[in-house]
């Protein structure tokens, strides 16, 4: 009982603290010194119509690299904890007709939508992370329909490694041309065109493939983890 009261007091006090903090903020009219600067020059300097993409990949590219490594570490730890399915464990029987037919129907659609979201990440809301999750869903739904046929984890790991290497190689190429690490190359192009914003679409494609492969591998491990633990 005391424990519960203390927890509620802590949560209430935290909320009160946040209320006091945000009460001092000018709502709806933030000063945004960094934001104004970015909004003024991003279209000319980076050339991406989606300014959030310019921030994520051009201004804070190295942060995105760190974010990818955190995601990689989480996926690796998840794989370590879940491990391989115990030998001899029977996979679940195939799902019913509706799920199987739906999976066949959804697979190409999800691939196309995921790649569209990734490749238009510098023009529309979306990008590598969002499209990567859609790609992962495309590969996990068939596993739900037919638990026996699992894509090989080695292939997923190869795709993931190559995508991560491509991200870093693009950053190193900028160093070779005497720019900062991960600075966009290849010129800005015409604002709003599909081929514009220099290397940003390449970076987002690498991010999308890496996120998709990582999440797909992790989710497939979850579907396999129902077997009894290896002991």
């Amino acid at each position: 009982m005391l424990n519960r009261t203390g927890s509620l007091l802590f949560a209430g006090g935290f909320a009160f603290l946040l209320f006091v903090l945000v009460a001092g903020l000018p709502f709806g009219d933030p000063s945004m010194p960094v934001g104004h600067h970015v909004l003024d020059e991003a279209a000319d300097v980076v050339g991406a119509a989606n300014i959030v993409t310019s921030i994520v990949l051009a201004y804070r590219g190295i942060d995105t690299l760190g974010e990818l490594s955190i995601l990689f570490a989480a996926a690796m730890a998840g794989g370590l904890i879940l491990g391989h399915p115990a030998g001899g464990a029977k996979p679940a029987p195939p799902a019913g007709f509706i799920l199987r037919a739906g999976a066949d129907l959804l697979f190409p659609l999800l691939i196309v939508v995921g790649l569209y979201i990734i490749l238009h990440g510098h023009l529309t809301p979306g990008g590598g992370f969002q499209g990567g999750v859609v790609l992962a869903a495309a590969f996990v739904i068939p596993v739900l329909a037919r638990p026996g046929q699992v894509p090989s984890h080695t292939a997923l790991a190869v795709v993931e490694g190559l995508a991560g290497a491509a991200f870093i190689a693009t950053g190193l190429a900028a160093l070779y041309y005497d720019r900062e690490f991960l600075a966009p190359l290849l010129g800005q192009g015409r604002l709003g065109a599909l081929v514009s914003a220099g290397t940003l679409p390449i970076l987002y494609l690498a991010v999308g493939l890496k996120v998709g492969a990582e999440l797909a591998g992790l989710l497939i491990r979850f579907t396999e983890a129902d077997a009894p633990p290896p002991r």
């Binding site: 709502f27 934001g35 300014i51 921030i55 879940l82 709003g192 983890a225």
Partner: protein
């Protein structure tokens, strides 16, 4: 009116955060704790996005080469990062929960704590700590029972 809207929006974001924290602290079921973490994360993200909101602003995407007033894009990029990290954290937490369920046959935190302490005591070869109900010294303590670490699948509640 504007004041009221801003307070309602902030109250929504902080309320989600409050629900999430209370859930993490009060729930005894691990899956609910993970879900509560997700709710708290949604509240924190909403709070971050709200700090960049402008009444006269549009989404920070240039359409047809026209750039009017836009909301602050920096918090939005931060939140994009935060969402992705949240997915990683939840996946890791769920993987641990799967293993706990396989090892102890339950997801109830209190039950898991009792069983885990008993297993640790058994593995270390020490007697369980004395308590009011089972005072030590009355009779010699029985040797620690070698309990199988994994409950059978039928034993789960």
């Amino acid at each position: 009116m504007i004041e009221l809207t801003s307070y309602a929006l902030y109250a929504g974001a902080i309320g989600l955060l409050l629900i999430g924290i209370a859930g993490v602290l009060l729930c005894h079921h691990i899956f609910r704790v993970v879900l509560a973490l997700g709710i708290a994360e949604a509240g924190a993200n909403l709070l971050l996005v709200l700090t960049g909101f402008r009444w006269d602003g549009t989404a920070p995407i240039i359409e047809n080469g026209i750039q009017g007033h836009m909301v602050d894009p920096v918090p939005q990029a931060l939140v994009l990062t935060s969402i992705v990290i949240g997915v990683g954290v939840q996946a890791l937490a769920l993987a641990l929960a799967v293993r706990l369920r396989q090892a102890y046959g339950t997801l109830d935190l209190r039950e898991i704590r009792v069983r885990m302490e008993r297993d640790l005591d058994a593995q270390a070869g020490v007697a369980p700590p004395a308590s009011q109900e089972e005072p030590a010294g009355g009779r010699p303590l029985p040797p620690p029972v070698a309990r199988p670490l994994i409950a059978s699948r039928e034993a789960r509640p």
